[in-house]
């Protein structure tokens, strides 16, 4: 039986979560998914909670999804973007966040380009921290919504074969997925040019290859990753055209599979590079399901973490 309490006080990464935590988040998300399909999609649970979304990196989906999740739970929401902030005047991260906490904020949702930033903030700030992506390290809410979307379609993931294809080296989504799918007992294969695979990646309990067609024949679902050009000035492959020819998902390669393989993508999609439009919009793709489930998963994360926050003392 699933315990009804998370083992953690922050969501810093999937590697800190137990299998019970994962199942609790999925169960709670399924209730919230029902709620966000009602005519009125709001519940009053978090009306006494204030949440700050601090995004030190660009984001569309994650930022909107978190904000919507917070508003659906009736929390008060403030948003911060790097551009136009006092960071450009030389203020450091801890000072910036301390000032925001001083405004009686209960939960911080943090996206930052530095790996480990969420952990660092959690150790130096007395507040609940949710990691919305820390550099190339982890993106736990994306990992959770990917797995939830897979479970919806495939059922229990134990023994299921999941492939992750693309820029594994720079992808925080890949690492969160590896930790999570491993905990749930799935088999994981990474497929990428050798230059985009981290050294000793097999030590995380995965196999690695550079053969996309055979990977597709092997798997039940494939998660296509974007090439993260913004994280490096160095070229890891000769050209997008060559990458696309060898590692891009297109109809010609997909037709060789001869079985139903689910297609996931964390977005944003570079159509024609890692996946062609006809497959991204095909019946096999569950990309928009992922987006919908993202709101439910984030509502579950926030609700479960908020339920552990200390109640203010009304005895004054």
């Amino acid at each position: 039986m699933t315990r009804n309490k998370l083992s953690v006080d922050h969501l810093l990464g999937i590697k800190y979560l137990t299998e019970n935590d994962l199942n609790l988040i999925f169960q709670t998300a399924s209730h919230f998914k029902e709620i966000i399909n009602r005519p009125i999609k709001k519940v009053p649970s978090l009306r006494d909670i204030t949440i700050a979304n601090l995004f030190f990196e660009n984001s569309t989906r994650t930022k909107l999804s978190f904000e919507l999740a917070e508003k659906r739970l009736s929390a008060d929401v403030i948003n911060f973007s790097y551009s136009g902030s006092s960071i450009s005047k030389g203020e450091n991260l801890i000072d910036t966040i301390s000032n925001i906490i001083a405004m009686k904020v209960d939960i911080i949702v943090l996206r930052h380009p530095s790996p480990g930033s969420a952990l660092f903030v959690s150790k130096n700030i007395n507040s609940c921290i949710i990691n919305a992506g820390d550099g190339t390290h982890e993106h736990p809410s994306q990992g959770l919504l990917d797995a939830y979307s897979l479970i919806e379609k495939l059922g229990n993931l134990k023994g299921k074969k999941i492939a992750i294809v693309g820029d594994v080296l720079h992808s925080r989504v890949a690492l969160s997925n590896v930790f999570l799918l491993n905990t749930l007992g799935a088999e994981i294969k990474l497929c990428a040019p050798k230059s985009l695979l981290p050294k000793d990646i097999e030590s995380l309990g995965v196999t690695a290859t550079d053969d996309l067609v055979n990977t597709l024949k092997w798997c039940d679902a494939v998660n296509m990753l974007r090439i993260q050009n913004e994280r490096t000035d160095v070229k890891f492959f000769p050209s997008n055209r060559e990458y696309s020819k060898l590692f891009g998902l297109d109809r010609e390669k997909f037709n060789k599979v001869k079985k139903d393989v689910l297609i996931l993508h964390p977005g944003p999609i570079n159509r024609g590079v890692e996946i062609t439009s006809d497959l991204a919009d095909s019946e096999n793709a569950i990309i928009l399901n992922q987006v919908e489930n993202g709101v439910a998963i984030r509502m579950a994360i926030i609700y479960l973490l908020a339920s552990k926050l200390k109640m203010i003392d009304y005895d004054y």
Partner: protein, 179 residues
């Protein structure tokens, strides 16, 4: 802990039949009525009433749903244990309908208040009524009263009033666990 039976199987069945008849008096063929059981234990009462209405009175196709009010409760972060939701299944239209909320025990009234807020998420009913099997009178925190009532009991704060539903040959009974 002392356990005392408040309603025997026979009296229990009599009350369920009376409640079904009272519903028929007001709602007739139930064409404009939706019965909503509150999770978790109001669902047992809902199912029993529907089966009585169908089998004893031939009223078929009664619109009904089950509603969980966890996310609408007023004790989030105040209760000793973390609130765990149950499933909601509301494949019914409540807009402009007569809604009857159904629960087994009415105690403080806070769950019913949460249910009144929760039901708004699905539309605006013309009227909402409340049916309960047991009313723990003198223990209300809010001005909420049932429209259909099985029986009233007096129990002091801390006592637990429980409805045991027929399962695996066990009889339907209502009992009290005294402190």
């Amino acid at each position: 802990m002392v356990r005392k039976t408040l309603l025997s199987q026979q009296k229990f069945e009599t009350i369920l039949n009376r409640l079904a008849c009272q519903l028929i008096e007001k709602h007739k063929d139930f064409q404009n009525t939706v019965l909503i059981g509150l999770q978790p234990r109001g669902i047992y009462l809902l199912n029993r009433l529907i089966s009585i209405l169908e089998e004893s009175y031939g009223i078929k196709n009664i619109s009904h749903g089950k509603l969980d009010v966890t996310f609408f409760r007023d004790d989030f972060r105040r209760a000793e244990t973390i609130l765990s939701p149950k499933s909601t299944k509301m494949d019914v239209i409540v807009e402009n309908k007569l809604v009857v909320l159904i629960d087994d025990v009415l105690y403080t009234g806070r769950s019913i208040r949460a249910a009144l807020t929760a039901i708004d998420s699905f539309g605006r009913p013309n009227e909402i009524e409340l049916l309960v099997l047991i009313d723990r009178r003198f223990s209300r925190h809010l001005p909420i009263q049932p429209d259909y009532l099985g029986t009233q009991i007096d129990a002091i704060q801390g006592d637990k009033v429980k409805v045991q539903w027929n399962k695996n040959g066990i009889e339907n009974i209502v009992y009290i666990e005294e402190k």
